[in-house]
């Protein structure tokens, strides 16, 4: 994860990880996986990037897959927290949907390197770990469906198929991590605001 990414994103997603050496190794793993892919990265590469020995890495993580799982879990928990905060927060369905999109996009733009690893390396997780991650994804999906269903219920939204619309909304936001460029024209906040408007159009929100 580059300094540019941290600056753009605001908060530091690994702040909760301790001790400091474990945190440094996680940041190094994100960088290495993003640059070369999970399978081309060795624990030796990761330890080297963190300025540590392979033996020091094994104190904190038994396997490379454990590092990926830790990254994936933190990323997915953050995504779920963002979406549930908006889904269960105050405001009309339009306001809650706009809030969800704004903060979900902001996270994917600000932490695009982490988000890419989280999204593109799912197949590399072990079966046991994957199950827990799939459950977090199901709950994220659910949070968005809940907001859209509320809007359909109040007559504020007009949507032909709620599950497909929820999937498309999440997909649009997640793909920001693929194309977002810190040197580009727009800030994470600007993309978030623009996308909130696009998504309200997708659900034909009553103005």
């Amino acid at each position: 994860m580059s300094t540019a990414e941290e600056t753009a994103g605001g908060e530091e997603p690994w702040a909760e990880v301790g001790p400091e050496a474990a945190r440094r190794l996680l940041v190094a793993a994100v960088e290495a996986f993003a640059e070369r892919g999970y399978h081309a990265t060795t624990t030796r590469d990761i330890a080297g990037r963190a300025g540590m020995s392979p033996a020091a890495l094994y104190i904190h993580y038994k396997t490379k897959e454990e590092l990926l799982h830790r990254i994936s879990r933190i990323g997915h928990e953050k995504a779920l927290e963002i979406l549930e905060t908006a889904a269960d927060g105050p405001g009309t369905p339009s306001e809650r949907l706009a809030a969800a999109v704004r903060s979900f996009v902001r996270w994917h733009a600000g932490h695009h390197t982490t988000a890419r690893v989280v999204q593109y390396e799912l197949d590399a997780l072990g079966a046991g770990h994957r199950e827990g991650i799939v459950e977090l994804r199901r709950r994220s999906d659910d949070a968005v469906r809940r907001i859209i269903n509320d809007g359909v219920g109040t007559g504020e939204f007009d949507v032909p198929y709620v599950p497909g619309t929820a999937l498309a909304v999440l997909s649009l936001c997640i793909d920001v991590a693929r194309w977002f460029n810190v040197e580009g024209r727009s800030t994470p906040d600007e993309v978030g605001a623009f996308y909130a408007d696009l998504v309200l159009r997708m659900v034909s929100a009553r103005k």
Copy 2:
């Protein structure tokens, strides 16, 4: 690329590649890159998957990067062809935008393995090759902007910012390759039709 992928997508994207051995190597490279990532794949892996020797591979491709470039070029040319056909075709802007989204989504769902390699391994292209690919992407972007601008011109669409909207439309369609599952509920055609409707909402198309 799995058989399932070929079936779902209809046409075979490598039909134009010859001779047969060169085509087989390309299909093997797509599979290997998708499974393990570009950097973790060797030319020996690719030759092995194609049932050939490394020496036989070098008759057709001098480097692994040449294989990736060939895949990327074919994928990007196909995308451009789909979008320009719709942009320059007959019909109202709404009809042309819907046609573009339908066929672009169909391609990304039907050829999701290829599309993932094409989209996620751009950084692995050599600088010279990347330049040509960036130009193809610029023209694809242009085709979508052209349709949206036409709709704004006729008053059929209401869009606050055309370049951002064109980017979001392409992004929504491209991300289908990430989540599409051949064992899922929807066919590529169904996703294409559903997405065409979503995108017409995004541009507030007059009904």
